[in-house]
Structure formats: structure tokens, C-alpha cells
Symmetry: C3
Subunit: 391 residues, 3 copies
Amino acid sequence: MLETDFKYIIDTFFTLFAMTLIIFMVPGFAMLEAGLVRTKNVSAVLTTNVMIYAVASLAFLLFGYKVAFGSFDSSTSSIWAIVMFQMAFVGKSINIVSGGVSERVRIIPLAIFTIIMGSVIYPMVVNISWGADMLRDTFLDLSMYDLAGSTVIHSTGGWALLAALFIVGSRRGRYQEGRVKVIPASNIPLVVLGAFLLWIGWFGFNGGSVGSISSVESANLVAKTIMNTNTAGLCGAIIAGVIMYIRYKLFDITMILNGALGGLVAVTAAADLYDMYTPILIGLIGGALVVFAVPLFDKLKLDDPVGALSVHLINGIWGTLAVGIFIQNISFMAQLKGVFLIGMFVFSISYTVLFIINKFFKFRADNEAQLMGMDINECGVEAYPEFRRAI
Amino acid sequence: MLETDFKYIIDTFFTLFAMTLIIFMVPGFAMLEAGLVRTKNVSAVLTTNVMIYAVASLAFLLFGYKVAFGSFDSSTSSIWAIVMFQMAFVGKSINIVSGGVSERVRIIPLAIFTIIMGSVIYPMVVNISWGADMLRDTFLDLSMYDLAGSTVIHSTGGWALLAALFIVGSRRGRYQEGRVKVIPASNIPLVVLGAFLLWIGWFGFNGGSVGSISSVESANLVAKTIMNTNTAGLCGAIIAGVIMYIRYKLFDITMILNGALGGLVAVTAAADLYDMYTPILIGLIGGALVVFAVPLFDKLKLDDPVGALSVHLINGIWGTLAVGIFIQNISFMAQLKGVFLIGMFVFSISYTVLFIINKFFKFRADNEAQLMGMDINECGVEAYPEFRRAI
Amino acid sequence: MLETDFKYIIDTFFTLFAMTLIIFMVPGFAMLEAGLVRTKNVSAVLTTNVMIYAVASLAFLLFGYKVAFGSFDSSTSSIWAIVMFQMAFVGKSINIVSGGVSERVRIIPLAIFTIIMGSVIYPMVVNISWGADMLRDTFLDLSMYDLAGSTVIHSTGGWALLAALFIVGSRRGRYQEGRVKVIPASNIPLVVLGAFLLWIGWFGFNGGSVGSISSVESANLVAKTIMNTNTAGLCGAIIAGVIMYIRYKLFDITMILNGALGGLVAVTAAADLYDMYTPILIGLIGGALVVFAVPLFDKLKLDDPVGALSVHLINGIWGTLAVGIFIQNISFMAQLKGVFLIGMFVFSISYTVLFIINKFFKFRADNEAQLMGMDINECGVEAYPEFRRAI
């Protein structure tokens, strides 16, 4: 057998394996968000997650992939495996948006935004970062290092969410008389399940982004990448737990899990470049950033029920910049430029698109609909019709 | 290393990978069905799912595999990987039956049927479709194309369910005074989780059915098969959502997920043969068929709480026939003959077996037991003992 | 390509695949335990599970791996894949402890114990069983066969749990006036989901422990190991169901699942050595042992809400001894010696460590805290705040 054939076969198989792990993030996000919102909004959140996977993936297959990469071809592994792997990413950036505006967003305008984000906005970010690179040889050309998308996926989703929060506004009753009304998560086991499905999916996300496992060097790199990814998640969870305990003598499980996710986001930019100890620091800082950012966004009246800004935007930025701090040959300024340019691009185009959609289809459900719950108004299906509500 | 050894190793690994994905369908079916039934029947539905996996798998290992394939041997990859892969399929066809008769079926007679279906009925269908082929050189010989079981698994399960519905009857109070009593799903997050575990399992089901990944051609074929499988699922979900919205201005998440599953069933017959666009059409038609078939079966008073007839029987048939429509070299009449013969065989033998079992162990729980719930009567374990019921 | 390179690549990929399956056991244990305890203790149990994964894994990466294996090096596959694979095991032994003392244990002392168990106790057991072997050439040298940890993981966890039960005591009100108060599981779907995630994880646990898939012989061995693992689980479930039905005419799903897990634990010691029929017997005996051990431990007032002693300790011992019974070249006495020595070592050191920790940080929550529930006292987060409690 030719060595190139061997590599083709192994890398196709490996890409399919990694892609499959990423698809576990679809129920992962769905369970996480369903657990974090109130019972009256659970069906709507789940429907939104299913809609995003279906609509964004199809938009990416039909249009987005070509926007990002130009054409369907590959000589090193099956193009269909590569397309599926890339397709598995697209919904994630939109999930970040939908999670952050949940409990008041309507599905139709979000579906329209999903089509545009999945076929144009996200693919253009990929184009200039990992893909055909339309900015090559211009002064805007990016030389940012971003292995698996601290910026391309996570802060991209975060900036689009920020734009969406300006359009959609906060949930009814969240900020009243200068106080933040606490709205507890309705189903903690689902939150834990969702967080771990995301965690496992991250192995595919980051490991698969190495792009090949078919040489001794790349096999080592994939394994180290997965180990480093995991380590940052461990440390994000630990530091969030420690801080919560120091402050409140209580272990807030939702904060601990968001700390873990923050660490995972932060290490994503360069899990392949770090030695085995650096991800500890990346994760500790990432988890701590989440704990401090969550109340900060509430002070700014940016109402984000799932903590997506803290996890994805803040840590997407932190993780991208960290590469420039910890890796010798990576320029901090190049990383900063990448964060800044992509942030400007995504925020401004997302805001514009959301603004226009909102003229025709209001994103925000009215107060009465929010009071009744999005499930009744958007889906006609209650999530738990037989369980009597205590509150 | 010999090229044959390389292929043996890679294909064994790949088969184990695909098999593992299929095993995720065991909790997938369990969660889907547990979410769709009422809380008083959840433990019984779950127990049934566990029973089917345990009993059908053991019956297949001890008897069914030999009925289907004749002997334990293989020279191209490990026979134990192949046996496990085939074993992973068997429970699925029986899950289709049990799901459709849930909320009133008793476990003991179902366990007896499971033994017979797992050791004889399903293996005989496999024998004439994929296996030793006892009908070879007879006028009944099948030349149907069915990659991963639109007919062999899904419509087989569907025909057996139809037979079971004639024996078991509808749930107490479902059809009264000419009206259909709406019985809502009790736990929507479980339905979503279950549907996505099935979706991911389908990658293993269809991808693994290609049978090999150890050449450049087969690696491409596996990747394309998985992509096509996914695409049909996406489109099934989208069309179901669109139709529901046009009709009711509401997104019924259970219908959207059944639409996705319908698309997945339909593409299963030939996900390897289609180009990347045909599965869009297959899935759109599959999802639409589900939406229209569900109320139709209720008009026929075939009470199927999980929509299994619409998803598996209707789309199993549609998917098998579609191969004859969309693929040049496949004869539509051969596909139709396969659907018809297997349907006749499975329905008649299942009806006979169910009828006989029912003489000794009644399948149907009496009205009082149904009113109390199957959990108390069959398991002695309530699913959610601490949650107060609203209805 | 060099044959050694080929093997390196394939075995690295395979180890990562197996490791990933084991990580699914993290949400697996979490869901199983969250479903088995009362709603007022669910967040605490989940937090404990997350804490164990984070703390034990980091402790093992930083200290435990070197205690067990001496150094980070490997020439046959990527050391990082091997480290991750071994790291995936460590939390399991501690989960066994935490599950058995749930509903009354406090998180801080458990976290301290987790650090010690993850960095010293468990790694020392690995050292003398699979690792650097510090007892080599002493009269204590173990020649026990234990493929994937019937003793090294399961009875180790079980002995530590037994020690913990002596320190922590039973739940408030569990044993009153000579009677055992029945405390039902609060969420059966989570129990089923958790059990199947564990089951699938076991494929990685046992299959991965073969250590290589890169020859025809080892590929066969991996496949047979996974099949045998599964078979014992099937039979454990079946026998538990049969016994429960004979006794009570009811199918207790939690007992059936614990029977399955018992079978899986028992076959773990030598799933690679058995023919395809022996695991049937191993699993039947394993499942039966669970059914009889559960009430026995209650008679001894060892209050173990999840049945961990019956599943992991009893079947860990049974499975290890079974190798000496069923495999010709394995000495029963060597197996017995291994069980005994590791049991003595783990019990005594765990008891000592737990005793000392307990002097400074009480493991047991006081009665009032138990009455209110551990969620409020340890986490400040209720698991299901919106569902009104019936009991």
C-alpha cells in the first residue's frame, strides 16, 4: 500500500471520529441551555437548538463551505469527511448567540439570522482565518494563530451575541429598581450532562483541528492537544469552585461548569503548542475570568442567562491573546490584531443584519408572552406538562 | 506489514467504532420513549428498553447470528467486531415495536416476543437480505438494495409493530366518542437527547454498513455515506418545522424530531449511492411523510404514542423505493418486491407469534392497570416519585 | 512507512478512542448517582462528581502518573495518549466511594481525600499491579491477572468505600427501630442514561486495556474483549430481572441495571482471556451476587444509596477470583493473594487517611443539614427548584 493511501485512510477515519465527537456538542448545548432556563422556556430553547443545527448545517453545506474554502477538494483525506468536520463547527458559533438571548427570543427571526450567519458571516471569518483567505496580501491580512477557534468560533459567537443583546434586550423583570433578579436554573442534571457532552466534544474540536494523525509527529500532537484541552477544563472548574467557596462557602455547580467551559474555550487557540503545564495557567485564569465576568455583565445590564459572554467572548479573547504571551514565536500584536479585526467585523455585520431582521420580525417576545413562557407561544409544547410548578 | 493485515486492523477498529456509535442508540431510544410517554409509564418504558437490549442481543449472539450468516468466520476483519456490529442492530427493530405499543404493553409477553424476534424473525430477514441468503436461486430471491436497513431494520420493525397494534389495541381512553384524546409528552429534554443519540448512532449504522474503510475508495464512501445520512436528517427536521409553522404558527419540537428521524430512516437504504444533493430531497419527502402520516394513523385508530409507524414503517418503505427512483442501475420493481415480500413475511409471522403468545400471556394491561400506570404494575418503581403531578 | 510507525499511529488513535469512551463515564456516573438520590441531594452529588473528575485527574497528571509508572515515556504509542487513558481511570475508583456515601457526605473533606486517593493511594495500587511494581522480587510481589481493574479499580474503590462507611455512617433515619427505611430513587431516566454511558465507557475501559490494536492478533483480542464485556453486562441484567420477577413479580429497573453493572465489573479482570460463552456465566453470577448483596449490606447497616459495595466490591472480588477458576494457566491462589493484599492495603490506608481528615473536616453533615438536603447546605443550588415536591 502506498504511504499516501495509508495516510488518506487514517486521516479520513480520524476526521470522522473527531467530527462525531463534535456532533455530541449538539445535544450538549441543548441540554446545558435547557437546564439553565426556566421550565416555561425549555421547549423553546430546545427547538432553537435543533433549528440551529438543521438550518446552519444545511446553509453551510450548500453555501458556507464554498465561501470559506472556495471549492470541494482535498488530496490528503476524504473531502466529505472534511466538509462534515467543518460543518460540525458552524452551529456552535450560533448556539452561543441563541443561548445568550434565550427566554425571550423568538424563533423565526433567529432562524433567518441563522441562515445568514451559517452561509455568510461565519464562513467569511473562517475564510480569512483558516480558509481561502481573501485578505491575503492586503494590510488586513491576519497572521493570528487560532488552532480550533478561540476567536473563529467562540469570540465570533460572543461578538454576535453582544450585538444581539443590544437588539433583543434583557428578559422581562431581570433588572428592576437597580437590582438583579436571580433566576435559578431549572434542571441541574441537564446542565451537568450538557457540560460534559461539550467537554468530550472539545476533544474532537481541538484534536481534529490538528488536521492529521497519520505520522508519528502528528499522532503525538493530537494526543498532546487533547490532553492540554482537558487540563485547561479541569483547572477552570477547580478555580471556579475555589473562588466560590472562598466567597460564599458554597459550591455553585453552574459556576464551576462555566469555569470549566471557560478554560476549554481559552486553551482552544493553541492547545497544540503548549507544554503540559501551561494549560493549567490558561485554565485557572480562564475559570477565574468567568467568575468575575458574570456579575460584571449583569452590572452592564447585559442579560445573558447561560453566561455565554463570560465563557465564550471573554475567554475567546483571553485564549487568543494567551498564545502571544506564552508561545515565543507568536506575535502578541498579531493575535491582538486578529481579535480586534474579527471582533469589529462580526459585531458590526451582525448588528446590521440583526437590526434589519428586527425591522420585519421582532426578535423580542412581548412581556405577556415572556410571562406565559416561550414554550406555549413558540412551540405549543410544554417541556414538563405533568410536573406541578412550585414557582 | 502486509496490506491485508493493514486492512484487517483498520477495518476491525472502524467496525468497533461504528458499533459503539450504534450502542449509543440504546440510551437514545430509551430517552426518546421515556420523554414521549406519561410519567406514570416511564419506568416501564425504560425497563422494556433495557430488557430488549439484554434479551435480543443475547438471543442474537447465541442463535440469531448463525441463522442470519451461517457461521462465525471472516477473513477481512475480526469476526468478533462483525458479530458485535450485527448484534447492535437487532434490538433496534424490536424497539420500534415496543415504542409503538408503549403505555399499555406488559413486559413478560414482550420479552418472549423479543427472544423470538431476536433469534429467528429478524435474523431470517437478514439472511435473505444481507446474509447467507436461503432464497438464492428461487423465484423469491431478493435483489433489493438496502445499505443499512430502511427495510431490513425499519420497515421490518414497522410491520411487526402493525401486527402488534392489532393484538394489543390502543391505550385506554385514546379514542373516545370519535375523538382523539391528546396525550402530551412528559419530558421534552429527554426526547431531544434521545433523538440526537439516535442521530449520532446513525453515523455508525450507515457508515459502518459500508463494511470497510481501508481503501481510498471505501474511505470516501464511508465519509459520503455519513454526510448524506446527516443531510437527510437535517432536511427532515426543516420540512417538519416549516409545515408545522405554516399550519399552526407553532414549532412542535416532537414533530420536528420525528421529521428528522424520518429523513434518517429514508436515506438509510442507499446513503452510499446518492450524490450530496439527493438526500435533501429524500429527507424533505421523508419529513413531510411523517407530518402527514401521524394524524392518518390516528384516523385509523392505530395508537402509536411515539410515531413509530410514521417514522420507521412509512419512511422505511419510502427510503427503499427511493433507491429505485433516484439510482439508475437499481430496479424500482426489485425494490418494491423486496419491500412487499419482507413486509408480508414479517407481518404474517409476527402476527402469528404475537397471537400465540397473547393466548398465554396477555400483552395488554387492563384498564385499571393503565390508569394507575405501568410503572406501579410492572416495575414497582415510579420514575419521578418526588415530583407532584399536575395532571 | 515503517511498520513501527504504522503501529505507533494506529495505537495512539486507538488509545484516544478508548480514552474518550471512558470519559463518557464521567457524565455516566454523575447521571446514575443523580438519579438514585433524593431531589434535595442531587446538586451536591453532581458537584461531587465534577469535583472528583477535576481534582483527581489533575492530581494524577501532576503526581499520580509518576507514582504509578515512574516516568513519562513510551516508544509504542504517544505517551500523551497513554497518560490520558490512565488518567481517565483514576476518578472511577473515587466515584465508587463518593456514590456510596452520598446524601450525607460533605464536599470539602471528600475533596481532600480525592487529592490523596488520586495522587497516592490509587497510583500505588496501579504501581504494584500494572506499573513500575515496587514490590517486584519481594514476597509480596503480585502475580494477579487483572486486565482492566476488577481489583485495581473496582474492589479498590469498594474497600475505600467500606472504610468511608465506617467513618461517615448511614444516612439520617435510614435504620430506625430495626427497620430499613426505603428511600426511592428520584429520577429513573437519569439512572438508565447513566448506566448506559457507563456500559459504553466499559468498551473503552476493557478494550483499551488490551493496549494495542495494531496487529491482527491484537485486533481480534480487542474485539473479543469488547464482545465479552458486553455479554457479561447483558447476562447480569437478565439474571437480576429474572430473580426480581420470581420474587416480587415486578421488574425493578434499578436492580436490573445494577445487575448489569455487576456483570461488567466481574468480567473486567479477564474479558480478553475468556471464550465467548464464559462471560455468560460470569455475568449471571455477578448479577445474582448484586441482588443478594444489596439487602445483606443493609442488614449490616452499611448504608450505600447506589449499591456500590454490591456492584464494585463484591463483583470486583468475584471477577478477579473467576479468572483463577476459569482460566487454566492462572493460579487461583495468586488471584486470591492479589485481592487480599490490595484489599488490606487500600482499606487500611483509606481508613487511616479518612480518619485523620475527619478530625479536621467532618465528612458527615449533621442531621439538620441532611433533612434540609445537601444541595442547600453545600451548593446553594437546588437541582429542580421549580418542581413541587410530593414527599
